[in-house]
Symmetry: C2
Subunit: 282 residues, 2 copies
């Protein structure tokens, strides 16, 4: 099924406005453009359809939520089928009276796959996500698609090596991290971005897989999103990186064939000692 | 007990020869020198008393092993007591007919603490450790000393985020990684060292603790040890780094008070989801 290990992915680094319809339209157009440039799996940034509203804390943004299936999946299912691409669309999901920070994943035939609901939910100044989202209750997902087998983890999940490891133990060859992360307005702390890039490269190194991070750009309220979306190979080496302030379609060629050689060479997966890891799940 | 969170540590980056007595003597002298420069916790490199013999595969080096207590702990217990320093001395340990890649840890009063026996054992070209060492059977150790609470993990352990996380869940504020890692002779692959540094910085970031790595230098057989011992703070930022080819005593001032601020700020430890991590220990 996955004999050809070469692959092209597309990351949609975009800004968001208050206009939900306009955000959808823009990301739809950028997705078409990415496919035209050869991308086979296309990933949008976290909560792509709205501003990053959790920075405002305890307000009511539920009008901007949507169900799965719903408006976004309708749009992207059509595109996926037409363009023969896999699409990862991260949205503010509503299910009954519960809300999640989720990723809808659509296969290249236009069919919905399982939803991933963000498992690690922060509550920090300007990132008041616990006020809005329930923690993900579907576990870690692995998507076996025509082009590659991958997992989606969302933003704050990226700081947890546990999540990356589980995704790889489940068979993922790429980890996609749709993200919304930035500096406090007028306070560009380079060491924050450096830590962010380092932790994600470390997941590639520890697991011998490719990692793709998709961030948004632009100033929204008190958050200045730092873009810098990137893809690194299974050695943690950055293959391509986007600007810190421009909307961009990052189209990147990968060779997943590298993963196995590196996994066998370092031997990290086969030399784990699960018998000593009991504390991790306590 | 640990109200003063400022601390000075000393890393002994050295080369090793075939002369076990000479290696002991040199590391003893460097330890004294480190203490003179203010170091309170002093860490030697992996298997400090011998060449890195596991590169040769299936030979008999058991004559170079020692017990705990034994020759090394005798020497370093005296020094620890006299200099009022904590010493981490990694050795080729013999217990009955079993052999381990271990770290003897000696408190500032000269008393032996629990031994840590390396848990993750590689078997790769030039790193045939499975031929020599049984996997550690004492679990992860946390050392509560006068100066700081820390864990010791040895070389290959450094590639496993699981080990770092468990050490921190057990209360460690610093992770010491005595190491013997290098390039194949005449093949300096910069990306190997880059991956090595990145994975260890990532443990600092994911856990909000300081990390100290002590490597050896020099050419032995077909391995060219790349030195570059370093200490990074709880943001993953490198505070100080040694050369790649010289014997050096790296004396580094830390403020462990930074750890808690960063742990609380990022919130990674409190926002873990152990209920979703069951697969890690299976």
């Amino acid at each position: 099924m996955q004999k050809n290990r070469k692959l092209t992915i597309g990351l949609i680094q975009a800004a968001a406005s208050d206009n939900v319809a306009a955000n959808m339209k823009k990301n739809g157009l950028m997705t078409k453009e990415a496919a035209k440039k050869g991308a086979q799996i296309i990933c949008l940034h976290e909560l792509y359809r709205t501003k990053y509203f959790p920075q405002w804390g305890k307000k009511d943004f539920t009008a901007q939520s949507e169900t799965i299936p719903g408006e976004s999946t309708k749009l992207f299912s059509k595109l996926a089928q037409k363009l023969k691409v896999v699409i990862i669309a991260p949205i503010f999901e509503k299910e009954g009276s519960n809300f999640y920070n989720s990723a809808a994943v659509i296969n290249a035939n236009g069919k919905l796959m399982n939803t991933y609901r963000k498992i690690h939910i922060p509550r920090d100044p300007l990132f008041y996500e616990k006020d809005y989202f329930k923690p993900g209750n579907f576990g870690y997902q692995v998507y076996k698609t025509k082009y590659a087998t991958f997992s989606v983890l969302i933003c704050y999940d990226q700081w947890f090596p546990e999540a990356a490891r589980i995704a790889v133990l489940n068979g993922a060859d790429i980890l996609f991290y749709p993200t919304a992360i930035g500096w406090f307005k007028n306070k560009p702390e380079e060491e924050w971005r450096e830590a962010w890039e380092t932790i994600q490269r470390s997941h590639a190194i520890a697991n011998g897989v490719h990692v793709a991070c998709v961030n948004r750009v632009g100033l929204e309220g008190n958050l200045n999103f730092w873009g810098s979306s990137f893809v690194c190979d299974s050695f943690g080496k950055i293959i391509k990186k986007a600007s810190e302030d421009k909307e961009e379609i990052l189209v990147v060629n990968l060779d997943l064939g590298k993963n196995k050689g590196i996994q066998d060479g370092w031997g990290f997966l086969k030399n784990r000692r699960p018998d000593t890891y009991g504390l991790l799940s306590k």
